[in-house]
Subunit: 206 residues, 2 copies
DNA sequence: TAGATTGTTAATCGATTAACAATC
DNA sequence: TAGATTGTTAATCGATTAACAATC
């Protein structure tokens, strides 16, 4: 079993390798990748091993091969579809941010309660009413939901997404979500992160 | 020394306690708070101990006292000022999101290169040109910077913020930032989080 | 008192780091 | 070959969890 830490780092390695490939780099050593990713060489070697890619002591890892191995490991062959609920300021920013990043991971639908948004195409993503949620999720075979609604609505939205068959949630609402077993929730609590930085920005001055 | 984990949880506890106080709750037990925050009772007791708040075996913790103790611990008495660089879709959403949340932590300035934004007030936050960065940071005594510029500009922006005296960075750009010793960087990598959820949403189906 | 919770220490768990033979 | 890196195991580290006497 691979830990969440490793998955996160693999995602980061892929992004680094992709940009290196554009600069025509062909090989990389564990310590070089570690430096770029902010980890250790041993960590990189272990992570790389877990995706089944082998390097050589003389040339390190082939960038093309390693990128392909990571993609084989991280991506679903048939791709995965994402839906976003709550197209406020943050939701709209995320639509732009997420789409066109990975070919295998697309935001195919968004949902909102505002009449003015329903039926529109926002950041090349069609916006539906909340009543259409279950139908659209199932028709489009969406497996990942992004929750960007106010805290008070988040649990209700999460429950509906799970009932519709979503297996993973990226939650931006500052509340803990109760979900059925087997559903993975990743919390991205921006207020918490800001307070954390503020605390250490202060502490480090002492 | 208190770990980043604890700081994050304390921030979460405070938010939970604040909303409980609005519902006129007066006391809470460690296991109740743990359930709301998604941790264990022992964890809560340890965290609470670290802010120097004592409970009683019969009534648990007084919500008002605990909230005050956490705030004493997390907040700088004189408050802290935040600046945001890069007022794109995401930056603008964050301005709205962050401000008016905590009285002791305010976004007092934002910066962008676009002529159309400079001089404007965006989400009740004045927008300055990049040339004004050092001056404004120092005049407003900003200690925390939020980086929401494209990846290619992030290191340059981070360096300028650090030179101007910022001691903590909240980085939304998908790159690793090199900063002087003593500066705390918190990375909020949304693409990584989405890929992580997608991976586990897929795995859990097996 | 009896019973549940607190404060705190010891045991567990998992991730990171160090180390090193095998390899090119 | 000599030298640096890989693959992989053992040691370390730190956070979480379990446990329990003290408390109200």
């Amino acid at each position: 079993m691979i830990s969440g830490m490793t998955i996160g780092r693999l995602s980061l390695y892929r992004r680094i390798l992709t940009s290196l490939a554009k600069e025509n780099a062909s090989n990389i050593y564990s310590h070089q990748l570690a430096k770029l990713a902010g980890g250790t060489a041993a960590q990189v070697r272990r992570d790389v091993m877990s995706v089944g890619c082998a390097g050589s002591p003389t040339h390190g890892y082939n960038i093309t091969d390693l990128t392909a191995s990571i993609s084989d490991f991280l991506d679903a062959p048939e791709g995965q579809r994402v839906a976003l609920v709550g197209v406020g300021n943050l939701g709209r920013a995320l639509l732009t941010y997420f789409n066109r990043r990975r070919p295998k991971l697309n935001v195919v639908a968004c949902f909102d309660t505002a009449e003015s948004k329903i039926g529109q195409v926002l950041a090349s993503c069609p916006c539906y009413s909340m009543e259409e949620l279950t139908g659209v999720i199932q028709r489009e075979r969406v497996s990942v939901g992004v929750v960007t609604v106010p805290a008070d609505d988040a649990q209700n939205v999460a429950s509906r997404l799970c009932e519709a068959g979503v297996m993973g949630l990226l939650n931006f609402a500052p509340v803990r979500l109760n979900v059925p077993p087997g559903v993975h929730v990743e919390n991205l609590d921006m207020s918490m992160s800001l307070e954390k930085v503020a605390y250490f920005a202060r502490k480090d001055k002492d």
